[in-house]
Symmetry: C2
Subunit: 249 residues, 2 copies
């Protein structure tokens, strides 16, 4: 048992975007993978939970990225559990480049869900105190994002390829849908330096999710996803400089 565990990864060719740097969603995927791997090693991974009819669900995430590694680059992710309460547990991450340089950090808040009832479970039922470090996140906690109004800018019907092993939309898909609303020229000029997500409801197969985006969208951009009147998630993206969405269509 390691309270703070470190894992080494290599950026795979299929992880990168047109600029040969790791995509935001893939990097976030490595964070989630690291969370799952560490939980598995400590005996409370997805596989063990599924056998008990339970699953982990990400509730809020934040990630700051100082450097996006290229294909074949090595990087490391350290992870530790900060604390846990009745419903939520906080897991933090530190990302380091192959040369030891600061790459970024993340923090995530999870709840445990009953797969049948689709309801949050009491975490005090299991004793995770031996795994708690009390070590705080290296970045600000996930921001609580505001409600948006206006017209939907895009919509998606949840498809087979969107589903994960929890039988709901893979949490990274929402971020992919949001990132895809930007013109390619933005990713040629700017990097996303911070991402915040609040997951509220799960979206299931066949459901239609509408995306709302706060206008104007300058160095930061806020999104909300809804299914009818229900909020699915809210997200915020910060860039490393201003851009003009209207000029860069």
């Amino acid at each position: 048992m390691r309270k703070v565990a470190e894992y080494t990864y290599q950026v795979q060719p299929l992880d990168v975007d047109f600029s040969d740097r790791i995509r935001l969603t893939q990097l976030l995927g490595y964070l989630l993978h690291t969370a799952g791997r560490n939980a598995m090693e400590n005996g409370f991974g997805m596989e063990a939970l599924h056998e008990q009819g339970k699953t982990w669900v990400a509730s809020r995430l934040a990630m700051e990225v100082a450097y996006y590694p290229k294909a074949h680059e090595i990087f490391r992710i350290e992870t530790w559990i900060e604390d846990y309460g009745r419903v939520f547990t906080t897991r933090n991450f530190k990302m380091t480049g192959g040369d030891g340089s600061h790459m970024g950090a993340g923090t995530s808040i999870w709840c445990m869900m009953d797969l049948e009832a689709r309801k949050a479970l009491d975490l005090k039922g299991a004793d995770y105190s031996a795994f708690v470090t009390g070590i705080p996140s290296l970045i600000e906690k996930p921001h609580r994002l505001p409600a948006l109004s206006g017209e939907a800018v895009s919509r998606h019907r949840v498809k087979y390829s969107d589903l994960d092993f929890n039988r709901h939309t893979n949490s990274m898909k929402y971020i992919e849908w949001m990132a895809d609303l930007f013109p390619l020229s933005l990713f040629q000029q700017r990097n996303i330096t911070r991402l915040d997500i609040n997951y509220v409801n799960e979206a299931l197969y066949g459901e239609v999710v509408e995306i709302y985006r706060h206008q104007p969208c300058d160095e930061a951009c806020q999104f909300e996803m809804r299914r009818g009147a229900d909020i699915i998630c809210r997200a915020g993206m910060q860039f490393d400089g201003p851009f003009n969405l209207m000029a860069d269509k």
Copy 2:
């Protein structure tokens, strides 16, 4: 230098679909990754080629799958170059489960493209003869698929997340778009046992790709993707039994 190389993988939680088994596109991704990894080890990987303004492009692929492993399962992929000619080289694959069981096989035909001119290059310019094994594919070569007529059943505008390091649509995205046309109930009842793809043209950012599907679509299903009058790719999927697309909406 190994003429026949074997690599070991583990199915990651994010690789699987709602049924906890590896998705077809992810398994094909592991084949492409294996091809790239072996090419890199032999000195003609994507990184080396990109520095010369060249890239590998998959032209035709076929994969047969006897068993789809679950999350955390170990599997192995063996790969070897069968032969090469002026424009095309054939690379084959054998997939084996962690317990040594037969999992499937693949075969792929590649050409080398000039990144600037977007044209195929003469492979005889480089000498790959030391890497040629002459060992044939374990499955039938990729089928040459027929042209389809009728109405498009779906369309996609190529987005940021669809692009790969070659700056064109990731070859697996087409398969994802095709698989997503089936109802979820199909994947609850049936497995894809063979996939054939013929890539004809690349689709670039912002272009709209239309999908045509041959009707009726019973134990096998054929697809064509077009951009206006240009063929992008054709594909065929075979299932392990009949299904009725109309009944299982």
